[in-house]
Symmetry: C2
């Protein structure tokens, strides 16, 4: 394993020390894995808190800032943060109007955020929760914990963050967050596995001409192994899966995320953006907004995911609202 790290044990805290050095507008507790805004949201507004296992950077700490998260909690690599830390962060970010927990749908995260919410409520903080479960690699009716949360998490954090910034009460911020989840779907492809620092070798092996469709962001096996395809065919395959699952699609404009998994360079992501446009044009789907880059990664995995959100006027207005975070910034 070759990585620019000091040790598998210290990688999360070290990366957070780097965030602290690079972004003085953040308040960072590297050993606890807590990142908040140095200057919190306005008093009386809802605070958004997200988090989960590390290894998906810039998610979540890179999205802490004006117009998006009030705080993020970073667990060990691919491992949920413990309830106590989530609870402490929840109490810390509350500005008197309650806290929205944005939780990717993984068993550990759901459990730990649930316990943390109870603890925070015991301390007088109102907590609402939205579960993000956008990954169509898992069938909607499959037995088990349900669909995984992936790229749509960014959409939820951006759009609900804008609504909180407008001063909406907790129930309304939670409602728009759930609306984003209902309208968003993702699907991804890996060209290589990721290598966790602790394990030191790839989580799964792919042959020289093999790709894996429907991978998760924790090195889980995918839904299907295929022979390497052109970018055009890959984009079509991903978008077919997403569009077939997008509920009540009836010509609405979409927000598109072309997301790199960590090891894929910008040029390839832009090639995929071009092919996404071609497919969506053929299908009569209008891309109203889009993002291209490494936003929800899986360590050093090569590959990408597509996320579509079926937008409306409200969602586009909130998407366009100013945001100022390390990883997302516009309209200031």
């Amino acid at each position: 394993m070759k990585k620019l790290i000091n040790s598998p044990e210290s990688v999360v805290a070290d990366a957070l020390r780097g965030m602290a050095a690079a972004h003085p507008e953040l308040a960072v507790l590297p050993e606890d894995g807590i990142v908040t805004r140095a200057e919190g949201p306005a008093a009386g507004t809802v605070a958004l808190l997200s988090g989960g296992g590390s290894g998906h950077e810039p998610l979540h700490a890179g999205f802490v800032g004006r117009g998006m998260l009030a705080g993020a909690v970073a667990g060990p690599v691919f491992t949920s943060p413990v309830p106590d830390v989530i609870a402490r962060a929840t109490v810390a970010v509350d500005r008197g109007a309650g806290v929205l927990h944005i939780v990717k749908n993984y068993t550990g995260d759901v459990l730990n955020f649930t316990m943390a919410a109870e603890d925070a409520e015991d301390e007088g903080v109102a907590v609402a929760r939205v579960l993000v479960d956008d990954d169509v690699a898992v069938a909607a009716d499959a037995p088990g914990p349900g669909r995984r949360g992936t790229g749509a998490t960014l959409f939820v954090e951006k759009i609900a963050g804008a609504r909180a910034e407008e001063g909406a009460p907790l129930a309304e911020v939670a409602a728009v967050a759930r609306k984003v989840v209902e309208r968003s779907r993702s699907y991804g492809v890996a060209l290589s596995s990721c290598t966790t620092p602790a394990k030191g070798s790839p989580n799964f092996e792919l042959g020289e001409d093999e790709i894996e469709l429907g991978i998760g962001i924790h090195g889980e096996p995918g839904r299907e192994r295929r022979t390497l395809m052109t970018a055009a065919d890959t984009a079509r395959t991903l978008l077919d899966a997403v569009l077939d699952d997008l509920p009540e699609y009836a010509g609405d404009p979409v927000i598109l995320l072309v997301n790199g998994l960590g090891g894929t360079p910008p040029a390839e992501l832009y090639v995929m953006r071009a092919e996404a446009q071609r497919v969506l044009d053929e299908r009569g789907v209008r891309v109203a907004r889009s993002l291209v880059g490494n936003y929800v990664t899986s360590l050093d995995m090569a590959g990408c995911t597509f996320t579509l959100c079926r937008a409306d006027e409200e969602l586009l207005r909130l998407w366009d609202a100013p945001v100022d975070t390390p990883a997302l910034r516009w309209g200031l």
Copy 2:
């Protein structure tokens, strides 16, 4: 070779089609490799043009926009664009106050930008040029073409772009660009080679525990091969080389770039940012501004480069000026 592309022949045009789709504020000619602002700089202001071989994205097209470049010319992967295209772009971006060519110091780029400047001047466009040669991997007094241009290119484009936006005449914009070059140095490390689409296999091979110091951004061999080190030792090694070469350093604040080469995920870059801070603190060097991310890449190479610019009040003022490009955006 596994890449998200359609073919080695089409990769540059395909990626530019993706940029066009993602960024409607750009005017893109994918087949010609020309990217300009849909709405050019104000009439009577200096226009900045840069370019070179592709494979370094987001450099240069990702830096086209308000406060930075007026245009960028993208050649084939790792191959300079031809003079005719550079000349056409030069004439196209001129707003009556002349054009600054920002050229990384590689033989092909220097030759082709020189010929293009002559052609554009024949058409009545005033052209000035700044050569960027910040890579200390090549000794300053080595025979040959001189030092290579790498990370400092971003600094030059940002700072000279801000000066142009202020309405400064061509000679002054060129002067501040040269000041940035004089005060900037870079050094990098690779954990893997890059693989060009045309060749399809890595440019050089590194063993399981080997790294290469002093690599260039075109898969050139480095200056020294070493055994894998901790992030702390790697950061110290890179910064020693940069600081030893930074001319007339006397306690000035610096601008620091921790740059990913394409295949290294954000978390590792932030670990390197933390270690850079530790080393610079020890050396008494104050980091006034910093950037962490994939800005000047080498296809899918794993590794990173550090660039330092010895700043002063003028350079920090211009650094902080608003910028609105696909890859760099703040202060709007």
